[in-house]
Symmetry: D2
Subunit: 463 residues, 4 copies
């Protein structure tokens, strides 16, 4: 009985895109001459008399106007919003004064509410009105995806982005999200999006996708009721025996599928955010824990929950060391010797680079043998010791460590895809989610910057 | 594939009520000796290290503790929350100072965000955590229903209530609500709630309810995804020919049902809020317009949308006039004479009261004839002229007028139920929703306090 | 995406009832003068050229014509169908001859198919066409409900009924039925039907129904895809500890509800056929076994599956014995003495009748004490020894025994409702479904007419 | 609330395939030595005591045994069923005698029922028991797909197949089928089957499929409740302006999609049976009419319903004429001259063959110009005049003509795919479904063998 309501009164942003007329329009690149008209329409949305319904109808018109602009016009639109519809200083000051001079609690509380209202920029008050519009939430998420790159060097746009992120964070509160398992029975229109959104290990074809939805695989996603057809984030899981150490083996379409009832380990091998406009609104944390919880209740044989993750910052960090001339300090004498020997006697830093630059180096046994001890040790050191502020430098490491996972194992030649070699030098890491240790680990990491790691990994870094 | 997630990690408030143990508990009436334990647990929720998941688990424990208290204990709990977890003055002052002393825009914006955060009471920060819990939103709605009566004479509780109302208003934003039509095919568990929640014209039995869901009737409700089994507000509609003027006729279970395709008029004869804890969070406005919109698209023959509404403030206002001795001024000479004549020559004010106090007076032709001109005129005057501040005194009138409806007609002996006689002296009003006039009417009413009314009603008031 | 198809081409029987015109019609009581028109329309359905679609459209018209007739007209309609559209003897003879004279296997097989076709009466060929019509299957089920009482004394109608029963039995094959659990979440429109259809222990109100759907109760029904809104048969189950011996206690709305996880016994206390027109098409057998299977998988604590059933034939049989003067032989000397003593020294047979005729006799301790040994023993004897042909005389006993259940226990004062006293003298029986014995018991009963019974019941009968 | 019932009692064929043990098994190729065991198990199914439940459990075991056999074993299994479990002559004779000697109507009717029962082969009585088993209906459909090729030269298997087809035809009666529209929102698992089952114009990729589900396309399928995941037959429709004359243009993935609201014509360009085991059970007829009906109600602008169909028998017929030396009579003098001229002066029949054998001939303007008049005329003549018995020789033509469609237009170079050239010499036909003429056309074709055709097509054939 759920009604599809395309409110005639409100107008639907969606239909609008197919050409519904409105009484005004802007030139595609929003020239100076049109900006007054725009300001006037924004003011109409914010201040106009008329019920909330009309206000939203005006917001919808504004949304359609935005969508009809070209990139230049859109940037100008956002600039006007960011620069001219921020907090009004006088209102803030008036509220602060009112609070100071309040003679009783009631007055003070009222002034505080007034102050809070004054601190909410009109731009955000405007954008909130999109919540009630068909497709309005998706509109804002996509608008933020366009705002993000523009905001990098621009304080006003950055402030607008901060506010918008906070607004979206409140709408996309974990309490509103629904976890769903996605199978080969899911709508093709949804599966098609997964293929497009997968960010870690590219899904190469529908057949590849089907393989990832096989009986010994699981794929879970979070959804929001205002964007029911759009996954927000999704995680892919392999149900196996023992902790997996190689992602190509895991994704091999020709491998036979196992019986999920026999598996003792769940490997989270890919987590992808699907909405660029929700950057900084985090739910990956909840996703892994909920999925682990759901799996453990449905497949009681599962005892171990672990990721198989890349180390995307490793190579960039390593190159920086080598560039900085600190290369030599990275190796032991015998490592330096080995590297030089198999690389035409180049100095070890250069030798390392030369070896890694050779296509298919991992299939060259001699090279791989020389590289393995060096890269494994440096990988462990990078993960345990290199920081961004007080926290782990590698963003994937930071994500799992702040979730309370433990750095369990580093795997050699675990991802030999082009991407895996370029970013992680082929290394992959198992972060272990031990449900009974998660809180303690999280606390140690966020409170005291202590990283939970298996002793084997610590030893590796010390060698 | 939507998963029923009763997160073991989080714990489910619902299951909890069936006896899940926690490591601490409070005596039912929360004596002084237990309040320190409570404070400690609240602090644990607010400040404790550990991920958001643990924070929510602690919130769930607090929720279970609240539910285990008796009314005395609950009031004490709320008092502690309201009085000890409000805005911290020093934090506000620090942020104001930071803002004053900021040397650039970035600093100022940061200080403003800090200030906004400081203005959010910790009590509300705590209650927000319930959003993610199973049944957590319903818990807060019900908690507010208990808070409301306590808050009447208590500034701290009142402030807490204000904050909570605002929190719920943001969660129950119209954009999140789904409109559904409810039919006799709906789950009995849902229909049972309608019987319990109907506030205007009591549903006397399942048979009465079935009659109100007949082919020429409609019932629509708003739902929220976090409380999918609970209607928030619902409206009942009769599809008829011409504007109905009598609610008993409308609800007559023995009357034959008409063909909805033949109807030209939709009569909204009852709107009931179903959640006491959502008082002050308004969606009735949207409900009527959406339903009118939905109906007009599905039944193109419908041309007129009108309510059949009570005048619940009329009798109370009238009695006040009579008490205040202003009674005599209410009547014309001939009315005064008529009233006295049929009421044993009592003075007209007393006569009016005596006549209205007689059980079944509306069936006494002489009495009804004498009362009709008086009550119709006074009803019109009450609706058009009596104000609460600048706005209509009668709350039903205010609701529809602020929605943009027009006061179209006053109907004599239109509701002769006990309630209808006691509150409205049997009068009922048709408020007309003319979609093309709604915005204009709304603006005139909220901007200039002008009430849109049919000229016949105006004449009636002037007589 | 399932489409609601009310085929314009075919016409919908349902809409038809609301007045769709057709080019011909019959007087309500189908006078002689109209029967030729009817024959002509039937012939058009059976023999007419045109695709199957037109044939069905004609069948729909015929259906509407039937529904427009009054009872007299309908009986005449059925008589024409039964008497004039039976098997055509000449066609049968021709096929038999063709079979006799066939010279090879191919010819013989063809003749056999021809013979089988000739043996299918045209009346049934006509009625089959209703299968494809909206509401057509329900139409046939209801038509048979009207046919059944008429067929009792009429060989032609009886033969038509036999054929129709066989047709419906093939359509309602157990393989097409879906078992569903019905809860308080089910549509009110469906629950309303359960109230109407309950045949064993009347459902007195919606509250009574809700009590029967409580957490420690279960209600299951079979549905057919062609009549998705109509339950075919339903069974009510109580989840309790130990085998229940009193149905009033079981249905007590004020009793607290138990935890289904704690129950060790499922009591089937009511089985009702919902469709009179499906009499003789049996699925009760499957229903109990499927429900037992479903319950035992979902609630592993359940160890015992038993009915609590009436003995509806007991009093009628007993009265017959007393009428027939065989009364004296029914009692032992001391029983006879006891009965006479407390019934004013009437002879024991008469005493028994007098005692049972007294309203509320079961609350009279002396009477009840005298009656108990007599009625318990006679009840046991009735169930074990009195036969209809070779099988149990009591139809409820026959149903459960042929399902393979065991007569486990007879309970005294187990149903003191008016109906329970009038039919069963207050006795109720537990038939035990022991899944490991069902096949053996069934075989013994249907093959050798041996009744499986607990030794206590056998002893009771022997006393 | 629909329960997934994998009855433990019955056993599920599906689970069984994953290894459930049974107490007996057959060697894969069913050697002579095992056939007695098989007979014994079949007899157990047919004659054994025990309830219907046990009978079905035994049938399930038999089904599992069949599925475990290899092709040789399966053929032997079917031979035993066909040859040893046919109609028992003595039972038929006994029933015929009983019917002859019946002294009254009741006796005669009883004998007729007995005769009908005797005419139902035990093999079919056995196979009916699969109806109630999980996956049982799909099992029988697939079994028949294996039986069909074996039955071609074998009278006993042919007879078994006839019976099985009749059984399936009664189960798959149109009244049980549900029409569904399939969109890009459908489960990938279902769409994957469409790709596999499409028989007319191969679906080359998921992208091709998505294009066929675009906003100006429709795809409808029939489903049966016992095989809910399996389409039975599906039709693909293009919504266009004017009757389409070229299938490559219609399927061009790069063409822009039109607005379905603007279309005036629905082109049925592909109908595929999805279940080989349902050959001879026809529902294509209903499918087209229901879809036309559904479309015309949802898109009132649609005025024309037409197919774009191949002429799959044309080239084979043409080759036969040329082989038979009748080639010369096929051409007019000037045609003969033209053909010879551009084909190195070969005689016209040989010239025709040579030209058609040249790859890409249709792109050779001179060849195409010479071939067009000849092939268009011969195509028209083939469709209108060449018969199989009294009916159209081309099976696609026969299908649409017996549905009541009209041969509207023959299109030149309308399908230049390899298949289209090989079977139809590139011709395609529009069969027009004019709902007001369908019955009349159907009658003329099936009654009098008259083909409804546009006059232009008739003229073409006469030229």
């Amino acid at each position: 009985m759920r009604l599809e309501l395309f409110d005639r009164t409100l107008g639907s942003l969606k239909r609008a895109l197919r050409g519904r007329s409105q009484s005004w329009s802007l030139a595609p690149d929003l020239p100076q001459s049109d900006s007054d008209l725009l300001r006037q329409r924004i003011d109409a949305c914010l201040g106009a008399p008329g019920g909330e319904v009309s206000a939203r109808a005006r917001a919808a018109e504004l949304g359609r106007a935005y969508l009809a602009l070209n990139p230049t016009g859109r940037e100008r639109f956002l600039q006007i919003l960011a620069n001219e519809y921020g907090v009004v200083d006088a209102e803030v000051e008036a509220a602060i004064t009112a609070r100071r001079t309040a003679t009783d609690d009631v007055g003070r509380v009222a002034a505080e509410r007034q102050l809070r209202a004054a601190l909410l920029p009109p731009s955000i008050r405007l954008l909130r009105q999109f919540n009630g519009l068909p497709q309005g939430v998706k509109f804002l998420v996509d608008l933020r995806a366009e705002l993000l790159p523009l905001a990098r060097g621009d304080a006003a746009l950055k402030a607008l982005d901060n506010e918008l992120r906070e607004l979206l964070a409140s709408w996309f509160d974990i309490g509103f999200l629904a976890l769903e398992r996605i199978t080969w029975e899911a709508p093709a229109a949804l599966l098609e999006k997964l293929i497009a959104y997968e960010a870690v290990h590219e899904i190469r074809s529908w057949h590849d996708l089907k393989n990832r939805l096989d009986s010994d695989r699981r794929l879970y996603a979070f959804f929001h009721p205002s964007m029911p057809d759009e996954p927000l984030i999704f995680v892919q899981v392999a149900l196996v025996s023992g902790i997996a150490d190689n992602v190509q083996a895991l994704l091999d379409e020709t491998a036979p599928s196992g019986d999920p009832e026999d598996a003792d380990t769940a490997i989270f091998y890919s987590i992808s955010n699907a909405q660029a406009g929700l950057a900084g609104v985090s739910f990956g944390n909840f996703l892994i824990k909920r999925v682990a919880d759901h799996l453990s209740r449905n497949l009681p044989n599962l005892k171990t929950f672990s990721t198989l993750s890349p180390v995307p910052g490793f190579r960039a960090w390593l190159d920086l060391q080598l560039d900085g001339g600190e290369g030599e300090a990275l190796f032991t004498a015998s490592e330096a010797q080995d590297l030089s020997r198999i690389a035409d006697n180049q100095p070890p830093g250069l030798a390392l680079r030369t070896l890694l630059a050779a296509p298919g180096w991992y299939e060259d046994e001699a090279a791989a043998a020389a590289l393995k001890p060096v890269l494994m040790r440096l990988g462990a050191r990078y993960l345990l010791e290199v920081k961004r502020g007080d926290l782990a430098h590698d963003r994937v490491a930071h994500f799992h460590l702040s979730n309370g996972a433990r750095l369990e194992r580093i795997n050699w030649l675990a991802d030999t895809s082009e991407n895996g070699l370029r970013q992680s030098a082929g290394l992959m890491v198992n972060y272990l989610y031990d449900l009974s240790e998660i809180d303690k680990n999280h606390e140690a990491y966020t409170g005291e910057n202590r990283i939970a790691a298996a002793s084997a990994v610590r030893r590796l870094a010390r060698d």
